[in-house]
């Protein structure tokens, strides 16, 4: 089995910047949350790819634990973000950042 490291690190880079572009460019708040999660997934991918690639061949379990922790924290943050978005929509009726073509 050849080293999968290059393929997945390139994927991590692509996903990170796609998600980042989405966070800045998407107007709907819910979509920004999705884009943020894609960015987080890219960071996790890079961590686990580094864990798989060590000199002595033993797979490093510490980044695995960090990624599991990070997943749960990301879900908590997303849940909080969704609740906040919903409350903002209830109070102000605003669900998107306004377009500024003017």
């Amino acid at each position: 089995m050849t080293d999968p490291f290059p393929i997945y690190s390139i994927l991590a880079g692509v996903l990170f910047f796609a998600g980042l572009a989405g966070v800045f460019l998407l107007r709907h708040f819910g979509r920004k949350i999705i884009a943020l999660n894609i960015t987080g997934g890219a960071v996790f991918l890079l961590l686990v790819t580094y864990a798989q690639r060590s000199e002595d061949g033993v797979i490093d379990p510490v980044p695995h634990a960090m990624v599991i922790t990070g997943l749960v924290v990301a879900v908590s943050a997303s849940a909080l973000a969704l609740a906040l978005t919903h409350r903002v929509y209830q109070e102000t009726g605003q669900i998107e950042f306004p377009e500024d073509h003017e």
Binding site: M1, T2, P4, P6, I7, Y8, S9, I10, L11, A12, G13, V14, L15, F16, F17, A18, G19, L20, A21, G22, L25, H28, G30, R31, I34, I38, G41, F44, L46, T49, Y50, Q52, S54, E55, D56, I59, D60, P61, V62, H64, M66, V67, I68, T69, L71, V72, V73, A74, V75, S76, S78, A79, L82, A83, T85, H86, R87, I95, E96, E99
Partner: protein, 325 residues
């Protein structure tokens, strides 16, 4: 160029396509579905990178639970149609593509030149016998870095507290069993699946000692079982944000706190279990942690958005909206 590499290339391309579609497809609900598929694709990537714990956690939490939260709030966050949809959509797609490709290439050129380093794997396996478990990731989560796990449960609790604190006035107080017609199927499904889910959760908790598994995976599966039970209307009407919720939510944190206090007093280092009894301490923390995590994630599902107010039946399933009874 062997079969593994072909699989990796295809999988990476598929994951990138799913992420791109979830960012650019016009309908918010469809974007959520693409995101759930992206999460499952990532779970396959974890499996390819020999990270089975992370694969289970991603499939359960990242794709499953987060997908459920997003779907539940999708009706409450409607997307207003933009007047100039075609031009801005093309700019958006262009920017995302440019950002992805350009950034990815630049980033990868930095990363690919990084040398392979000696990881912590050898160190983790060296102390495995005295850690109380036989699986390295569980040892890291609950022994070497137990402090991180403790604070992670605290993060879950804090998020739930803030969600409950900012609730609007039309928020539900309890999970009511629904009485719509057509609920019999969901009830039958819940009655059949929830016992199996409880068993699987217990098995995952126990298997964390020697195989991929552990408290988080078991907690998420149990939370999924509770969500299924509430959708099927087989949960008794209870106030989940009252005293019961307080006890269940705080239990995990308090268990870690008690163990930390005890070990600081007797062994002068926080969360430093005595090596011969480490297994039992870890099991105790995992059991209480699983119950806490399951309840906290279930409460996320219940309270993340308020159900639609007047004119609709109060139900946990917001995807099928029908006329009031």
């Amino acid at each position: 160029m062997n079969a593994g590499m072909i699989l990796d290339v295809l999988l990476a391309g598929f994951i990138a396509w799913l992420a791109f579609k979830s960012l650019t497809v016009p309908d918010f609900f469809r974007a959520i579905i693409f995101f759930i598929a992206f999460g499952l694709g990532m779970a396959l990537a974890w499996a390819r990178l020999v990270a089975p714990d992370v694969a289970i956690a991603e499939a359960a939490i990242g794709a499953g639970l987060l997908g459920v939260l997003l779907i539940k709030s999708s009706h409450a966050l409607p997307e207003k149609a933009s007047p100039k949809v075609s031009l801005s959509r093309r700019w958006l797609i262009g920017f995302i593509l440019f950002g992805a490709l350009g950034g990815g290439i630049h980033f990868s050129s930095l990363v690919l030149n990084a040398p392979a380093a000696e990881g912590l794997g050898a160190l983790a396996t060296k102390h495995l016998e005295s850690s109380g478990v036989e699986h390295p990731v569980t040892a890291v989560l609950l022994n070497y870095r137990a402090y991180d796990t403790w604070l992670e449960i605290a993060v879950l609790m804090l998020a739930l507290w803030v969600i409950l604190a900012i609730r609007g006035p039309s928020a539900p107080a309890e999970s009511t069993p629904v009485t719509k017609p057509g609920i019999q199927f969901r009830t039958a499904l819940s009655r059949g699946l929830v016992p199996i889910i409880i068993l699987v959760s217990g098995y995952l908790l126990w298997a964390g000692k020697f195989a991929p598994g552990g408290a988080f995976q078991a907690g998420v599966v149990l939370a999924a079982g509770m969500i299924l039970a509430s959708l099927g209307g087989i949960l008794p009407p209870t106030r989940w944000d009252g005293r019961l919720g307080l006890i269940l939510g705080l239990a995990g944190f308090m268990a870690f706190l008690l163990v930390a206090i005890f070990t600081s007093l007797t062994r002068f280092t926080m969360l430093n279990y005595p090596p011969t009894q480490a297994g039992s301490w870890i099991l105790f923390l995992e059991v209480v942690g699983t119950l806490s995590i399951a309840f906290l994630l279930f409460a996320f599902y219940l309270y993340v958005v308020a159900p639609p107010s007047s004119g609709q039946t109060r139900t946990d399933d917001s995807a099928t909206q029908s006329s009031p009874p």
